[in-house]
């Protein structure tokens, strides 16, 4: 009997080629999209799962509250002496690992290449699960002159995997130094929030600084530059340790400091590092959990849409098989045999589609990186979760699709099956409901995509208070002893190059490491502690020269800029932004002198005694996730800081030529230093890379879901047109125009899409609003995205349906009637 069902199922697939193709391939494509998206979501959720000790590793976090505006700030950055104190005072800590990120220049074939590095304590390799292929995890980082590199780094620098014992020449500061490769780590898995190719013992972070800086870094409790990671002993408890932090803070920072800034410390489990965007870190990668939830939901929506297509097409096809089932009943089939036949057939076609979908997903998985812009290893076929889900899906889809026709058709008696055969022309109510749901979902996604796109455009086009267009940032290694000299010389000489409008030297490190997933515009990144409660827990500042405002196109609102004449600026002059003036509630800011001296401590704020000479317009020196903050500009020569970047504003004409001249100039001034140039507008845009990336993924997935929904509509309208062929013939014989027929076939479907549109706005509005709350600067939700979303989908749906309607309308009525 089963063989008979299989035969019928296959022959029916063959007979109704178009709708079989649509329902099968639709389900297969839908499943394929869903599997790939879900695998990616699972990848996102699998971050850091591979660490054996994942349940006992924590990152020390800090939270402060700005008493001025009650803004809560999160940080993972801590001072060095604190690490030593923590280890000494808390016996429950098994090991404490300091980690910080940075970059260094590696000598290869006579040229220095800039590479991102991590400075870590020796326990890093034994506490985290980053196994060594060669070398001993316990001792590899115990010698300060050792370096651990990954397998790919070994291949890149030595052309072989086992490079243990080889020397690498690295410039952390001015002078190059040799490090011995002591271990080769397996390449870091893509789902690790800590990524690295080079690990150096932590002492190098401090010893590579200048003598003055070394003292500050190793001794100051107020300068944070590292992340503190802790593993707990087996009998220790996270909450118990956290409860001891307030007393610890008071002991070391003093009561008034802790109270004023409402400092709290906490322990963040490794498993929460990736999805906690509150703590943006230079050591770990992070992502917004909402996106993977959105993507997971889209995956399910796609599957639902494909499932609904499959169901509605299968159901519609069954109404045209009343006759066949009537014959079967007449010649002796009993009710459960008919039921079994229908369920069996659906099971067979469904399995077929599912197998096709999995094969498709397996074939496409290697290319999924193009969509996700992340290299990931999707091993589909070996994943038991996939197989269990697919089996579940098969059963659910078979039951939902087949139970309704099975019960409905098998319950009819043979005579009514024969007489109902011709009357089954209308779309059944169940299918209508399914189409409404399908288009409701598709339109919701479309609206969401428009909202996202609108917000991203808003961010990218927002007036930042400075103009990043046509500005390039040329990197200077600020560790060089003669960095200031090089910077100033280059800046002056560059102004002579045609196409260069202005140049400026700044201490900020404007770096584009986007190929490593790190973008650091580095504007106003110096953070100085302050006792002025109006300014919160610190004042961001940047050390610049007098051309900075002109080069960055920042407007001076009142007062004066720094003097452009060399050696004529008093060291106590500062320029502040409008937010600073507002925070200080100054009516007349020019000439104000800052007092930043706490009464109970010997410590003096770095801006104590500084005089305001000018006020600039607020500009967004941080990304638009953060609100505008008070900030200070100082002259670079008054703060004894080396420049990190030379900013150059170019004319938009003949830019490639100007850049090539800039490179030649660099090579003539600092031949031994690599020429690294980054475009400011690219860097600004890359701050939102994660949003742009997710918008792309979500846009493509939404389009896929709409196309799938239309795919189903196409099949269904074909089926309806085919079934109403006699009616169309009769109508045409009695004078119906082509237009009448078009309206006749299309109107039902269009109405359904409109019903779908009616249910989507509340859902879309709620979800869009949720997403937008993450931004400090955002668009106002108006009717436009809703209108666009609905109209786009309606237009696509209308085109889809008219295809079939036009075909039906143009057929010769005589033929239509004869066919019947």
């Amino acid at each position: 009997m089963f063989k008979n069902y299989l035969k019928i199922a296959l022959r029916n697939l063959k007979k109704y080629k178009i709708d079989s193709f649509i329902s099968l391939s639709g389900l297969a494509i839908g499943l394929c999209c869903c599997v790939i998206l879900i695998m990616y979501v699972r990848f996102e959720w699998s971050y850091d799962n591979f660490h054996t000790n994942k349940n006992s590793i924590y990152r020390l976090t800090g939270q402060t509250v700005n008493s001025g505006n009650n803004e809560v700030r999160h940080s993972t950055i801590h001072p060095y002496p604190q690490s030593i104190a923590l280890e000494e005072e808390f016996p429950e800590i098994k090991s404490l690992i300091n980690i910080s990120g940075g970059s260094a220049q590696f000598l290869k074939d006579g040229k220095y290449i800039l590479e991102p590095i991590k400075f870590v304590d020796p326990e890093f390799l034994s506490e985290f699960t980053f196994p060594l292929i060669f070398g001993d995890s316990k001792t590899a980082l115990s010698n300060v002159d050792n370096i651990v590199i990954t397998e790919s780094a070994a291949k890149k620098y030595f052309g072989k995997t086992n490079a243990v014992g080889e020397l690498m020449t690295i410039r952390l500061r001015d002078e190059p130094k040799d490090f011995m490769v002591s271990g080769i780590a397996k390449d870091v898995p893509a789902n690790s929030s800590i990524q690295f190719n080079f690990l150096l013992p932590f002492e190098n972070q401090i010893s590579s600084a200048s003598a003055k800086e070394q003292k500050t870094l190793s001794g100051s409790w107020y300068i944070g530059f590292l992340e503190t990671w802790i593993t707990l002993k087996e009998d220790a408890n996270k909450e118990d340790l956290e409860a001891k932090f307030p007393a610890f803070l008071e002991r070391h920072f003093g009561n008034s400091w802790v109270e004023r800034n409402q400092i709290q410390y906490g322990l963040q489990p490794l498993s929460q590092v990736y999805f906690n965007e509150n703590y943006r870190s230079g050591v770990t990668q992070s992502s917004n959990k909402a996106y993977s939830l959105i993507l997971g939901s889209i995956a399910l929506v796609i599957l639902l849409i494909a499932g609904i297509n499959f169901m509605s097409l299968t159901l519609s096809r069954y109404t045209s098989r009343y006759h066949e089932i009537g014959i079967r009943k007449t010649i002796g089939a009993i009710r459960h045999q008919i039921k079994f036949q229908i369920i069996g057939e659906v099971f067979i076609t469904c399995s077929f589609a599912i197998i096709l979908g999995i094969v498709l997903a397996e074939l496409l998985a290697p290319y999924s990186g193009v969509l996700f812009q992340k290299e990931l290893d999707l091993s589909l076929l070996s994943d038991p979760v996939l197989w269990i889900s697919v089996l579940g899906l098969l059963v659910i889809l078979t039951l939902i699709t087949s139970l309704y026709p099975a019960v409905k058709i098998s319950g009819k008696n043979a005579t009514s099956l024969f007489s109902d055969d011709r009357s089954a022309q209308k779309i059944p109510v169940l299918i209508k409901g399914l189409i409404v749901v399908q288009f409701g979902l598709a339109i919701t996604l479309m609206i969401g995509t428009y909202v996202m796109k609108g917000q991203i455009n808003f961010i990218l086009n927002k007036d930042l208070g400075f103009n990043p267009e046509n500005v390039v940032a040329v990197e200077i290694n600020s560790e060089l002893q003669n960095a200031l000299k090089i910077g100033q010389l280059y800046s002056t000489e560059a102004q002579r190059i045609p196409g260069v409008l202005s140049t400026s030297v700044t201490a900020g490190e404007y770096r584009d490491y986007s190929k490593y997933g790190i973008v650091d515009i580095g504007m106003a990144q110096m953070m100085s502690a302050t006792t002025l409660s109006q300014l919160g827990d610190g004042i961001p500042s940047e050390a610049v020269d007098a051309q900075y405002l002109e080069t960055m196109d920042i407007e001076l609102v009142t007062g004066a800029n720094f003097s452009k004449q060399a050696n004529t600026f008093p060291s106590d002059e500062i320029i502040v932004n409008q937010a600073f003036v507002e925070a200080m509630a100054w009516d007349n800011p020019i000439g104000q002198i800052l007092e930043d001296k706490p009464e109970d401590q010997g410590w003096v704020g770095p801006f104590d005694g500084k005089k305001v000479i000018g006020v600039i317009e607020n500009y967004h020196f941080k990304s638009l996730y953060d609100p505008l903050q008070p900030m200070v500009l100082q002259h670079i020569e008054t703060v004894e800081r080396n420049p990190g970047t030379i900013l150059i504003r170019l004319s938009s004409d003949r830019m490639p030529e100007t850049i090539s001249n800039l490179k030649s100039l660099w090579n003539s001034i600092a031949a031994q230093e690599a020429f690294n140039l980054a475009f400011m507008d690219d860097m600004v845009q890359r701050q939102y890379n994660e949003e742009i990336r997710w918008n792309r993924i979500i846009r493509i997935s939404s389009m896929a879901s709409i196309l799938l929904a239309c795919f189903g509509l196409f099949g269904l309208s074909a089926l309806v047109a085919q079934r109403r062929i006699k009616e169309i013939g009769i109508r045409k014989v009695f004078g119906a125009s082509i237009k009448n027929i078009l309206v006749l076939i299309s109107k039902d479907f269009v109405l359904l899409v409109i019903c779908g549109f009616a249910i989507s706005p509340p859902v879309a509005w709620y979800l869009s609003n949720q997403w937008l709350t993450g931004f400090s600067y955002k668009i106002d939700l108006d009717a436009l995205p809703f209108l666009y979303g609905g109209l786009t989908v309606l237009l696509i749906a209308l085109t889809t349906v008219s295809w079939q309607s036009v075909k039906a309308a143009f057929q010769n009525p005589v033929e239509n009637l004869r066919n019947e």
Partner: protein, 229 residues
């Protein structure tokens, strides 16, 4: 074999009630060949459906092979139908997706016979209808007459005691129609009871007895000349 007493069949919709059969009394003995005639809409097909246990009467009694089947469930009717009644339709009603052999084999499948047994019986039925050479063809590849022969093969494959034919020559030209009537007559000679609805007096001539229906009533019952029950 068949006794119908005061059979009544009423079709009702929300607004209209149509009486298709009204107090019909019929008796058909085993081995008979009965033709039912009458104008369109007189209730011929309704009567045939009730006789074939495809439908229940609204009122009255119906006995088939000694069982009262007036108000049986669909399941019970299906059980009784299987193997006892074969159907032949004007439009052949072969399943397009199945081959000639598979169509003929279908009733045996529902009887739960083994594959070997099915093969033997289906081939015998096809042989009997001279359709063996077409066993692997699909219905659309056959002429109307051939399709009806396959339908007859399907009706007799399970050795049905009763064959109900609803205008079996209605869609055929006269040559193919005659061919089909001869086959039915042969079957009747071999002992199968046949009840046939027809518009054609020529086809009715093959029957022993002709029942005339009009507006749901039996108006006349004639024994054909030369036939005796």
């Amino acid at each position: 074999m068949i006794q119908a007493k005061n059979l009544k069949k009423v079709y009702s919709t929300e607004e209209v009630e149509t009486t298709a059969l009204n107090n019909v009394n019929i008796e058909i003995k085993e081995g008979e060949f009965v033709a039912i005639m009458g104008p369109s809409g007189c209730g011929k097909s309704t009567l045939l459906n009730i006789m074939g246990l495809l439908d229940n009467p609204s009122d009255g009694e119906y006995h088939f092979l000694g069982h009262d089947v007036s108000n049986r469930t669909e399941r019970e009717r299906a059980q009784l139908r299987k193997g006892n009644i074969g159907f032949i339709f004007q439009s052949f009603n072969l399943i397009d997706e199945l081959t000639v052999f598979e169509n003929v084999e279908l009733p045996l499948l529902y009887l739960g016979m083994s594959a070997d047994e099915r093969k033997e019986k289906a081939e015998a039925a096809l042989e009997r209808m001279s359709m063996m050479h077409r066993r692997n063809h699909f219905p659309q590849q056959l002429s109307g007459g051939q399709q009806q022969r396959v339908a007859i093969a399907r009706a007799v494959v399970a050795n049905a005691k009763l064959i109900l034919a609803d205008e079996p020559t209605g869609n055929l030209d006269s040559d193919h129609g005659n061919e089909v009537m001869k086959v039915l007559a042969e079957l009747n000679e071999q002992g199968t009871t046949i009840v046939m609805v027809t518009h054609s007096p020529h086809d009715a001539d093959y029957a022993m007895r002709v029942i005339h229906l009009f507006d749901g009533h039996v108006v006349t019952e004639n024994m054909q000349e030369g036939f005796h029950v």
